[in-house]
Symmetry: C2
Amino acid sequence: MAIKKGRASFAFSPPPSVITFAAVGGKMENEGPMGSYFDKTNDDPYFTTYTYEQGESKLQKEAIRLALKKINLQSENVSFMFGGDLLNQCVGTTFGIRDYEIPFLGIYGACSTMSEGLLLSALSVDSKAGELVLAVTSSHYCTAERQYRFPLDYGGQRTPTAQWTATASGALVVSPSDSSPFVRGASVGRIIDLDIHDANNMGAAMAPAAADTIKRFFKDFKLAPKDFDYIVTGDLGKIGSELLIELLSEDGIDITKNHLDCGMMIYDFEKQDVHAGGSGCGCAASMLCGYFLPRIKSGEIKNIFFAATGALMSPTVVQQGESIPSISHGVWISHERGN
Amino acid sequence: MAIKKGRASFAFSPPPSVITFAAVGGKMENEGPMGSYFDKTNDDPYFTTYTYEQGESKLQKEAIRLALKKINLQSENVSFMFGGDLLNQCVGTTFGIRDYEIPFLGIYGACSTMSEGLLLSALSVDSKAGELVLAVTSSHYCTAERQYRFPLDYGGQRTPTAQWTATASGALVVSPSDSSPFVRGASVGRIIDLDIHDANNMGAAMAPAAADTIKRFFKDFKLAPKDFDYIVTGDLGKIGSELLIELLSEDGIDITKNHLDCGMMIYDFEKQDVHAGGSGCGCAASMLCGYFLPRIKSGEIKNIFFAATGALMSPTVVQQGESIPSISHGVWISHERGN
């Protein structure tokens, strides 16, 4: 049963577990500082398919395959799954999961998709509607660039505030279990729109949404940054991360000591030409499934608040002059079961 | 608590209620046979905004406003909401709900969005994560045509199998309550792809998904078509409805006596040039919120199985030669609370 902690915050009692997880990435991700934490990487941006879109689907298919394989779970035993991605009509997911025939609930949270999927998977297990519930997401540099900005062949210049969409995927399965990591609670995000119009500065657009959710979570759960090893945001990058720290400090919340941003972790700013950092659903998802969850499982990390962040922008409405609304869903993941 | 009935089917115990609902439509919808069942219609396709996309957002904003107003519910008392639509990055929803500041979980189920939203809202109330959970969706003829097919100005010929995307929205709120309509149970749909490649024949693409969910629901719940006043599909239209009946009869399930399709109900085939019928997220959502829910509330209708259907197509991948995978989520809505 979920225990309400605030308007849209709830604790899970007992907390369900993340019983398996896997991360898959591309060439840039392999060459970055986190390369060794991926379960598998592939240098071919097509992932041995014919189009970038099929390649992105293959990323999800592989992440699911590896996550299931780790615990010898057959796909037909998965109750149902949540998934989504950045592509129009979420086709990265649709075509990636089609062959598994797992009952499927599509979600759209832009780059916050993994925290939304994890939240809803935990909710589903908590309600006993499902026993083994999967969440997956992905992003791909080549599909995202041509959909949101310019076709790669155009060779457009990237602005200093632009972020590099990660070619990566993460998949996990939530189930009732006695072993860590546990999903202790969550806060559903609100749409926050501070009138940012620059589609090449998503960090600035998303930072206020992350600040809102982090603030609300701490208040609702009566917790503070010191209760967590890390406050993990999705893909704010350099600019967004600085803004987040500034916004939270205005409310007396200091996360300077334990803030990590997946978009800052995934690439090497010295050696890789990624401008303001990494982004994309696959960035936060692969860092969660490849780096954080294994460390929470082992006990090396005790508690994180995982607040992936999404810019709910569309090229159509940006061209119509609209601003970029953003959202962040937060999930408390712990090595300890709690009371 | 949800009671598992099958892999992805569950009953709610006690069943939550749909405590308020509203339907909003456009000119064609007002002129059709169901015109009087809409809470509000507007002849202006822009809904007094500057773009069709803003118009679609306005539809959702209005549907939510009217649903809340009926029971004097303030938006700040809504725990959180589920919403989505057909537009890239679900911007119909994002911009429609932005001003309400209701915590928001984005979903993507194409035209099955209302059954997905209702299912997840009921699940959230059931788990006690939320007390008042809202679901909304919309579609708009002018935004859908230019995104999926041709700009309206092009004046393209429509094929006989094409359907007319409804300009409509439906919104509802689920909460624990003693009054009808009750959400008794649900079945999560699977992606079904029988290799249909014609983006102008979505009924044919979606019928197998509806058949799969209806069959599975009856089997899991040990129920039959005779236990329901109506088996309601979303927007199969003429061709899809015929196919659905044929597919189910192969499995010995006869729904000829009580099948209704929202895409067949919403327009007048004699007087309105809609070819194979209505479609779009707003079609099933407005028929549910405008026609079915009020009749279930009054007891005129006792039980329906509401299986909205979605074609998970994207113009990009259709142009790349892909087929059209489809999905249908089913929800059992009843005047009776059950045991």
